[in-house]
Symmetry: C2
Subunit: 227 residues, 2 copies
């Protein structure tokens, strides 16, 4: 897939193709490049990530009446690296990536994190070159269409339930939560809770209630386990 073909595929013709090229330029490539004017894609990724966040948030707000907590879970499920890199792969984004030889050798072209970041950088470039509406449409077409599947597969479930399932599968054990610390006055407490599997601490979380601190601890444990 070339940049030209990619633009045809997604139905977006860039005014400034250099921006799109930059979106496909990994940090490692810059170090080896002779052209010192080249810029890598991390600033575009920073921008694209925020565009993506608003597009998905706006969609969820307008299409579901669920409470904020559920919408937050669904949003995290859809914008997580694993999903973004799948979409990037499906769009053959790896083909256009510019990487150092070292990254190339170690399989960087297909690495999830690099692909997910590239996907966000492409969104950033599109937003700059074509505006919010074009980025909005692109995100709808390639990402938001996956939401029904994600909901059906229950990947949106809350961290505690998710960890519970994973812990059963992996260790045949139920996670336990223990309060490690409780600080502050009654109306403004902060709880620190540890989550344990078979008496080994996996992670900790803090929050203004035990329930919130447990969810945060579970999320931290999931981050450990699924990284």
């Amino acid at each position: 897939m070339t940049l030209e073909q990619f633009q045809t595929e997604i139905g977006v013709k860039f005014t400034n193709v250099e921006l799109l090229k930059q979106a496909f330029t990994h940090r490692s490539y810059i170090n080896e490049a002779a052209n010192k004017q080249l810029q890598h894609n991390e600033r575009l990724e920073f921008l694209g990530d925020a565009v993506l966040e608003l597009v998905v948030t706006d969609y969820l707000y307008h299409n579901f009446t669920n409470p904020e907590g559920e919408l937050t879970n669904w949003r995290s499920s859809i914008v997580r690296g694993e999903i973004l890199s799948q979409v990037a792969l499906q769009l053959s984004m790896g083909d256009m990536l510019m990487l150092s030889k070292g990254e190339e050798k170690s399989g960087g072209r297909n690495r999830n994190l690099i692909l997910a970041n590239t996907f966000e950088a492409v969104i950033g470039a599109m937003y700059l070159d074509q505006g919010y509406e074009t980025a909005n449409k692109f995100i709808h077409t390639y990402l938001i269409t996956l939401l029904p599947d994600i909901i059906a597969n229950k990947t949106y479930i809350d961290p505690k339930s998710h960890l519970q399932e994973l812990s059963q599968d992996r260790l045949n054990a139920t996670p336990e939560y223990r309060v490690l610390k409780e600080v502050g006055p009654d109306h403004d407490k902060v709880f620190t809770i540890g989550v344990y599997a078979k008496n080994n601490k996996i992670a900790e979380g803090t929050g203004p209630s035990k329930q919130k601190a447990e969810q945060n601890a579970a999320a931290a444990a999931l981050a450990e386990w699924t990284k």
Copy 2:
């Protein structure tokens, strides 16, 4: 300050004032309210948070050439609860808040977290009622104008440096970082690092490099200390 006065003050006249009212409705108020049609502000906050994130990100991208990591730090500094609640106080947002009697008694009207969430909910309501551009202008006027001060006060500094300063001030000790775990193949490692003050573990962080894991551990420690 009434809703009417507030709209005059910020120079934004809502078409649907019910949205603005909802932005000022705390969850606790709903439980006591006779009118079961009322909705609290958490969904609006969910939306406003994402609008705020994009406005600030777009501003930083266009006005600074710094690397993404620095922009991310600046962004966190400006959208953090402490700053948002300051702006909410300055706009007398507490006056218009609808709270339960219990929350009211325990000082909820001036609590940082409630005020910061209300500020985000007002942005969400404004975005729905008036569109992105109006929210953009509002955020520029009341929040982004604070950025030079924030940068001058170095509240943007990276988590490790910030923790180092805090730890010196509070404990007269330098934080220490210890690698607790290293998993995965060479090109895809995940490090877990603990940060300690006077041999007590404050928090842990994970990341694809030791440096990143240390920053994450420091950020987690700051979250503990400054909550």
